[in-house]
């Protein structure tokens, strides 16, 4: 776990992840060609078109160049953090995204923490009480959770706690920390629900599997305390599965945020993406996807590092025994 090890590891991972980013960026750039309209019309964005205007646009965006040249030019811009200009808003894409970022980040982290903490606890309780009515009820609830898309559970929560009980606000993102927390609680819970169900499922299954392993029985046979066996043995070994699931959940938070922000009418990155897609604001879509892709790559990096911290067998590359 030295710095040198970390640097080597990061270098080896980046060798894989940078091509991944390139593939995604190429796919994103190709979107412009796939759209059911010519690029110049899309770039014009519904304004009246004359041949002169179209020609001017072709000129300005170098649309007559070969496709790969256009891609290369765009990529060079992206690397310099120039994502182009939004068609609808007419302003640079990156600042638009950054302006909307804080709500989504807040919402995503809030939801992630709820999903992880509650999911872990519930999964542990279910595993320790497996077969009991409590376990069966928790499993049933988690099945419902997995089946409830964020927008459906969002509407139900909104109705129950926003309209019927009137405990939480129905609109807005709130100003200031506490107010925001209050405003974003329902959206975060909606976002967390199905992710939480996944964590419950994974934690429960992994923990039950570990609890039945020989080394757990052997630890108990040696008189180690229940707490030590649960945390130091079973949970510790179940952690790899849980970390894998957490990575998926963190990435899922993006998709969930899109749905939840639309459901609760929150001005975040997710709703920005929906607006961009619906308005065929291609440069904005491209910028958003690149930002999201970078986020995903970072999440995968973190997960990979966590694996190595948790499991010495991965750390030593299985080169022994």
């Amino acid at each position: 776990m030295t710095l040198g090890w970390l640097a080597r590891f990061l270098a080896s991972r980046l060798l894989v992840l940078i091509p991944l980013l390139l593939v995604i960026s190429f796919g994103v750039f190709s979107l412009l060609q796939l759209a059911p309209s010519t690029p110049e019309r899309i770039l014009l964005g519904g304004r009246p078109s004359t041949p002169e205007v179209l020609a001017a646009i072709r000129e300005r965006y170098h649309l007559d160049d070969p496709f790969l040249v256009q891609y290369g030019r765009w990529l060079v811009g992206v690397v310099q953090l120039d994502f182009g200009t939004s068609i609808r808003a007419g302003e640079p894409v990156l600042p638009m995204i950054i302006r909307r970022l804080d709500i989504t980040v807040f919402l995503g982290l809030f939801g992630f923490v709820i999903a992880l903490v509650v999911g872990l606890l519930v999964g542990m309780v279910a595993a320790l009480r497996r077969g009991s009515p409590l376990d069966r009820a928790l499993v049933a609830l988690s099945v419902v959770g997995v089946s409830a898309p964020a927008f459906a559970s969002g509407i139900l929560l909104l109705y129950l706690f926003g309209v019927v009980l009137d405990w939480f606000p129905v609109f807005g993102a709130g100003d200031g920390m506490l107010d925001r927390l209050w405003h974003l609680t329902l959206p975060a819970v909606a976002l967390a629900l199905s992710a939480m169900a996944l964590i419950v499922k994974v934690t429960r299954a992994a923990l039950i599997e570990e609890l039945e392993r020989d080394y757990v029985a052997f630890a108990r046979a040696r008189g180690l305390s229940f707490r030590r066996v649960l945390f130091g043995y079973a949970l510790r070994n179940a952690l790899v599965s849980v970390v894998t699931a957490s990575g998926l959940v963190l990435i899922y938070m993006l998709t969930g945020a899109v749905l939840v922000e639309v459901t609760f009418t929150l001005p975040g990155v997710g709703s920005l993406l929906v607006e961009a897609v619906q308005g065929l604001d291609i440069p904005l879509v491209q910028g958003l996807v690149i930002v999201i892709a970078v986020f995903i790559v970072v999440v995968h990096l973190i997960i990979d590092i966590l694996y190595r911290l948790i499991d010495p067998r991965i750390r030593f590359g299985g080169a022994h025994g």
Binding site: I24, L31, G131, S147, P149, F151, L156, V163, V258, V285
Partner: protein
């Protein structure tokens, strides 16, 4: 070989039978829900009390009453009739997604898992790439930008579902490959295609069937998510996801107009998940493929 006469084998009843009946109650409920959705999808027009698309602005936004059991939406359309009519898009698309994704997944997974080699390496490269990306988000961008409506959404989701299915089938095929009965078949000279279909596939099939149900549930959740965002079905179509979006503004006047389709999505998806989980556990404990 006088000792050859072997004692009558005994099928010991395993403790896994424990609580089998109790465990079946949720499955029974799930099957009833699935049955109702299937009937509604098949006979929609016949059993819907009203025309699901008939607008009547005079009775817009009314709460449930004798005339409209679930009330009406903003345009005065009967919510109950629209829910019944919506069963069709809720059933057909997810079914195509589940079956289509699993078909691709089974083919690729069997090829990669059993044959291995470079083909497997290519398949896994693709699977790992897709697995690390948020599928629904990709669907939103592609369907949103390229268009193509409901069936485009279905096709995109089939493609997006297939990597996870491939991964599952491949893992199962990979587990089978080194087993003695497969190697014995190879030693007997059984042709490769026959080993794959006759020896590997039957042991992989239980998992495939279970995951078709689980995929259906996730397909419904994903597809109605797209509809909710206005992608996929055209505006005005009676679709549960779309209704949820359109009626979320009438939460104060007729909440059922938005809550009911939401509950339908959850109920149908949960039913499929329950059946899928149940099948999976049954197969796993029956020893098939162990």
């Amino acid at each position: 070989m006088a000792e050859g006469q072997v004692a009558v084998p005994t099928l010991a009843t395993e403790p896994r039978q424990r609580g089998r009946l109790a465990g079946f109650i949720p499955v029974a409920i799930a099957l009833v829900i699935i049955g109702v959705v299937v009937v509604a999808a098949a006979l929609g027009d016949l059993i819907a009390p009203r025309d699901p698309n008939a607008q009547n602005l005079l009775v817009g936004d009314v709460p449930p009453n004798g005339q409209f059991p679930l009330g009406t939406d903003q345009l005065g359309r009967d919510v109950l009739s629209r829910i019944i009519a919506g069963a069709r898009t809720a059933l057909v698309g997810p079914m195509l997604i589940a079956v289509g994704g699993m078909t691709i997944g089974t083919i690729l997974g069997m090829l990669g898992g059993y044959l291995g080699g470079r083909l497997d390496a290519i398949i896994m490269r693709w699977v790992d790439l897709m697995y690390s990306l948020p599928g629904l988000l990709i669907a939103i961008v592609i369907v949103g930008v390229v268009g193509g409506g409901y069936f485009m959404a279905v096709i995109v989701l089939i493609v997006l579902f297939s990597p996870a299915d491939t991964r599952i089938v491949r893992a199962e095929a990979l587990r089978q490959r080194p087993l003695p009965y497969i190697e014995a078949a190879r030693t007997l000279g059984v042709p490769t295609w026959r080993i794959m279909f006759v020896h590997v596939l039957p042991n992989v099939l239980p998992v495939v069937v279970s995951y078709v149900f689980l995929d259906f549930a996730f397909g419904l959740v994903s597809l109605s998510g797209l509809s909710f965002l206005g992608l996929g079905v055209p505006p005005g179509t009676p679709d549960w996801g779309r209704m949820l979006f359109e009626n979320r503004t009438v939460l104060f006047t007729n909440p059922l107009a938005a809550v009911a389709p939401g509950l339908m999505i959850v109920a149908a998806a949960a039913a499929m998940n329950i059946v899928g989980d149940w099948l999976y556990e049954r197969f796993a404990s029956s020893g098939a493929g162990r």
